[in-house]
Subunit: 203 residues, 3 copies
């Protein structure tokens, strides 16, 4: 039996875990060569090279940020974080995130999409992992986001701790199956299925 | 046995239900103190203080709206609705919504994220509940949206009736398990699991 | 027994498949009558009638595009694709998509929501199907997107091959159940459930 802890309700831990960093350099009118992000929407009182007054409320930023395995901006990127964020409160710093990790490296090939509220001033914030493709086909989960570093309004680095609770093909961490490796589960499912087929045939 | 209706296919009803209201006050150049939303994108024929001609087609609005338990704008907020909407048709009023409920109150602590088309002139519209965190971790479902009130182009109030069909940890309303309370399901799963373990051990 | 291939792990094929086309005509200042999309956000170096330099990086486009069953722009629409796309790289053409298919025809009534990265220069790209309503309630899957045609910066047509791996009520293509028709599965679940009830009653 491959179930890690037979006969007992299982802990709910992730079927897959991934920690990645991404680096955002906002265009400010003078850093065209290095910028990975640009302000593309602003409220009436804003403009497109300086984040707006009132806690940047209403700024829309489009980005194509390098993803790295560690917190070093100069590490070799393992993919790109692409999408948008919005500053969305006028009396504190909060953002709303909607973006996709595009991973293309020996370890991971596929995309992971995220959406959620980002109360920036809180140390650790959870957003939703809403879908994936390739190696992450049909994956869902939660990502814990932390601001790992920032420099004024131009640079920030986010640490993203992705916990998938639903992996390929509906593989989940549930009491019935625990959090086994997928091929173990295949085998167990096959056994259950065979049993189901046999007993149904008896009806 | 805790199954509500053993031996029969189950009704598909939600594992959790939540009705909330949120209130949107669009900035029009004169209501800075009260505004909870701002126009941040407009088509070439528009501007950032008046919703554009052609049914506001192309307007992008960022919002941070109070959520209340009833339809009273002055009720104590139980959270914030944060994100964006877009007016997206040029010959009628339709919007596209992408936002997150951030709930932080004695009853609920967590986020719920939504996406979908909002044909505003239709009385009741369904959008998708695509993910959640905290109390709503891994939740999915559907939300029925109704315009509960509006005042010109500046204020509207939406009633959001959220029906979760998938709750924590893959708990679903399925024929096999019905829509039991989660701890009942835990118990049943544990029993099934034990049985599975026992019979597999016989192989 | 309705399982297609009893006693063997199942292939993971979709529980539902749908191929649709949609047609995007971007407003360029001179085609107001025909345009189905408008540039509503641009970086500091752009404007709202011409897609920006640097591979359109930072352009935000809102659209309400007709959906057709074949690749003919003049075919009767079966619905509308509504939402937004963003050009998000400054040294090649990539986009980020977030939109909803609103289908309302004799075959399909409901919505399907999509999010994902679209590396336009790649022939075939996968994005995530993150939710649905109506006929597509709770559906999830993947959509393979191909540029079927384009004319300069004003027109493009996308072919969208939608593969749902999770259909109504958690119906999935899993080894345990295979990819049966839903009513077959209902019947099988009912049988399993009855068995479960009977044997639990013996405990």
């Amino acid at each position: 039996m491959s179930l890690a802890n037979p006969g007992m309700p299982r802990q709910r831990h992730p079927c897959k875990n991934l920690v990645l960093y991404f680096h955002d350099v906002v265009y400010n009118g003078q850093n065209a060569a290095n910028a990975t992000a640009a302000i593309v929407g602003a409220p009436q009182w804003g403009n497109l090279t300086i984040l707006a007054d009132k806690f940047h409320f209403g700024n829309v930023v489009v980005f194509d940020d390098p993803i790295t395995l560690d917190n070093n901006f100069h590490s070799a990127p393992v993919g790109r974080a692409q999408g948008m964020y919005i500053y969305d409160t006028k009396n504190t710093f909060t953002a709303w995130l909607a973006f996709t990790f595009v991973l293309n490296n020996p370890q991971h090939n596929g995309t992971i999409s995220f959406i959620g509220a980002d109360p920036i001033m809180v140390k650790s914030r959870d957003i939703s992992v809403i879908g994936g493709t390739g190696d992450f086909l049909m994956h869902r989960g939660v990502a814990t986001v932390m601001t790992d570093a920032y420099e004024g309004d131009v640079y920030f680095r986010l640490r993203v701790d992705i916990k998938f609770y639903e992996c390929w093909g509906g593989f989940k961490c549930e009491p019935l199956f625990g959090c086994e490796r997928e091929d173990n589960r295949e085998r167990d499912m096959w056994r259950m299925n065979r049993r189901h087929v046999r007993s149904t045939a008896d009806d």
